[in-house]
């Protein structure tokens, strides 16, 4: 294994789209997000994940530091985190890491974190090169294990994952969802679950900047679209006249699309995010249209519509023209498709489809409209993409009660995110502001 390379694991989707073009794009994005770091560590084989060893961390809270870094890297699904080794510890000050032993343990990279007062220094060793390839210090806000402290570690994990694989991790993100009528948010690793807003609320949607959540509040006389600022305060964007549900922020942050219903069906509308008069953007002609989601460039929308009888997922230009059924030619056998979410890389749309009476989460790639079934266990609904365009969070009954689960669209690997029975309608945050 030599040096560094822009080679990284490719996906089925990427292969279909043309691996060369994607890899170049991935490298460019990586370079842009993290100046000075051009590439990831070399992969021995295209589909093998690099083995990464996270060394024990000395000092108070050191065990938590190691556990959180290792788990974040594991949850990213792009590296193989090796079990802690009794034989390879952190080198003494001034001494070199035992690279030969690390190589024998299967590690291509070694993470060495050191607590220095209110700072954490994170060093990444390239085992093949026998040298340090990254060294970064992160402020650790007290108290240990507090939300800000954990978040600092997630930021470190995401940076490590970017150096190792070329793709930034998603540990320092959150998921909003509905539980017992309130909007909640939870860290991507399942910590810090807490209610945020609402009393009879549904359908949280993150602002593109990650600093606010739009949602629908079901009031006695009608439903309203509201925005909760995560730094405090909230406002009504669309007052409770008629039905106003399923908000989705336009990528420029200036508008919020939503479903508005009165007498003759439910149509898609767009209101200024600051409040004000909305305009109709899709003509349902008396049918029901809900659950809009924007393409990342803001030029197109996908949504649920009953315009042809059975609910189905459609794509249209953002002004509502050029409407096209997403999976009309699919042979998935679904008699009900709904709840689309456009992937942050723009390449795919996840949605729920009823197969043999049960909803499952599907992924349609836009280049060829091919539909892949992502879930099979229990009932799975309401997918929402992580900002890495690889993981989705779904509401699933696979454990016997409805909980949120994170599913890796590449491997199918799933992990339970919430421990709150009945959690549903998840929305994964974008990259969050520092």
């Amino acid at each position: 294994m030599t040096l560094v390379s822009i080679l990284r694991r490719t996906t089925r989707r990427c292969l279909a789209a043309g691996a060369g073009a994607l890899l170049a794009l991935g490298g460019a994005v990586g370079a842009q997000e993290r100046p000075g770091v051009r590439v990831g560590l070399l992969y021995g084989e295209r589909d093998a994940k690099p083995g990464i060893l996270v060394l024990p961390v000395a000092g108070a809270g050191g065990d938590s530091v190691r556990a959180i870094l290792a788990r974040d890297l594991d949850f990213g699904d792009r590296v193989a985190v090796l079990p802690a080794s009794a034989t390879l510890g952190a080198p003494a000050a001034g001494a070199a890491l035992n690279y030969a032993l690390a190589a024998r343990l299967g590690a291509r990279g070694v993470v060495q974190a050191t607590l220095r007062g209110a700072q954490l220094e994170v060093v990444l060793h390239d085992v093949a090169q026998r040298k340090v390839v990254d060294r970064t210090a992160y402020p650790l806000p007290a108290p240990a294990n507090g939300a800000a402290w954990r978040r600092a570690l997630h930021v470190a994990s995401d940076a490590l994952e970017e150096v190792i694989t070329g793709t930034k991790g998603i540990a320092a993100t959150r998921v909003a969802f509905v539980h017992e009528g309130r909007i909640w948010a939870i860290d991507s690793d399942g910590a810090n679950a807490a209610p945020v807003a609402g009393t009879r609320a549904v359908s949280p949607a993150w602002s593109p900047a990650g600093d606010a959540l739009a949602y629908a509040e079901l009031e006695a006389a009608g439903s309203s679209i509201r925005v909760a600022d995560l730094r405090g305060g909230s406002r009504v964007v669309v007052p409770p006249q008629g039905l106003n549900v399923s908000p989705a922020w336009a990528p420029d942050g200036r508008g919020i699309a939503y479903a508005h219903g009165m007498d003759l069906g439910t149509d898609l509308w767009l209101a200024p995010a600051g409040g004000g008069r909305g305009v109709r953007i899709a003509l349902g002609r008396g049918s029901d249209n809900t659950s809009p989601t924007f393409s990342p460039d803001g030029q197109r929308i996908a949504f649920t519509s009953g315009r042809a009888g059975k609910p189905d997922v459609y794509i249209a230009d953002a002004d509502g023209t050029n409407v096209d059924a997403l999976a009309a030619l699919s042979r998935d056998g679904a008699d009900y498709r709904a709840s689309p979410d456009w992937s942050p890389d723009g390449r795919a749309i996840a949605f729920q489809a009823r197969l043999d009476g049960r909803f499952q989460v599907m992924v349609a790639t836009l280049r060829d409209r091919a539909v892949t079934q992502l879930t099979r266990e229990g009932v799975n609904e309401d997918p929402s993409w992580a900002p890495d365009a690889r993981h989705v969070v779904v509401a699933s009954t696979r454990s016997g009660q409805r909980q949120l689960w994170v599913v890796d669209t590449e491997s199918g690997r799933a992990r339970q995110l919430t421990r709150l029975a009945g959690a549903r309608l998840p929305a994964w945050s974008p990259r969050l502001p520092r």
Binding site: G181, R200, V202, S203, A216, L218, A220, A221, G222, S223, G242, L243, V245, S246, A259, G261, M262, D263, L264, G265, T266, D288, N289, T290, S291, T304, G306, P311, Y336, A338, S339, Q352, F359, E381, D382, R424, L425
Partner: protein
């Protein structure tokens, strides 16, 4: 004459024979009327004692008669109130009886139309009354699409009533999708109970009369 026990005129004194008849009659219908307690014997001798006894018995008979008369007046009055209260309760029941739908549908069944026709009659009789129609769905569809389906169900009922002359301003609609189930659990029994429109009287309730 020690007749101060009774303020009644003497002509209303009744004979012991009549008292016996009255007692027999009371006894005959004791299932319906309480038997008056026996007069307490008092050790008084002679004609005064007789007069006192007669007076007591007369007073007792009189008070029984008055009580019976008052009772029957009260009964008649409460029967009138009850009839009015029953009518008001019936009007409220008719207005707020939910109607049900088939899966993923907002069409009105014959049974639903009959229930709506009954509401129509009450709404026509009491033009002050306004309703809010809340559409609900079962939990099987997609949550956000269900909110639109609930609205469609409420709007279908609103249209039926409006087409028959009820002003749209008296018929508000709202949807709760699958968010407020009437019955919990999985299975067709629960689902069927949840696919419904509920009705709330939001104005003119006092016009229906009675107490809520």
């Amino acid at each position: 004459m020690p007749l101060s026990l009774s303020a009644r005129p003497v002509r209303r004194l009744v004979t012991p024979a009549l008292l016996v008849l009255a007692a027999t009659g009371a006894s005959a219908c004791r299932r319906n009327q309480p038997v008056p307690p026996a007069p307490t014997p008092t050790p008084v001798a002679g004609a005064d004692a007789d007069a006192l006894r007669r007076a007591r018995e007369a007073a007792l008979a009189d008070s029984l008669a008055r009580a019976r008369a008052a009772d029957s007046v009260a009964r008649a009055a409460s029967a009138g109130d009850a009839a009015a209260a029953t009518a008001a309760a019936e009007a409220r029941r008719v207005l707020t009886t939910p109607v049900y739908f088939a899966f993923d549908a907002s069409e009105l069944s014959d049974e639903t139309r009959a229930l709506l026709d009954a509401k129509l009659a009450v709404l026509q009789r009491y033009p002050q009354v306004a309703l809010r129609i809340a559409g609900h769905t079962d939990a099987r569809g997609a949550a956000e699409y269900n909110l639109a389906l609930g609205l469609r169900r409420a709007s279908a009922v609103r249209k039926y009533l409006a087409d028959r002359g009820i002003a749209l301003s008296r018929l508000a609609v709202v949807s709760f999708g699958a968010e407020r189930p009437a019955a919990s659990g999985e299975g067709e029994d629960a689902w069927a109970q949840n696919r419904r429109d509920e009705f709330e009287i939001v104005a003119g309730d006092a016009a229906l009369g009675g107490a809520r």
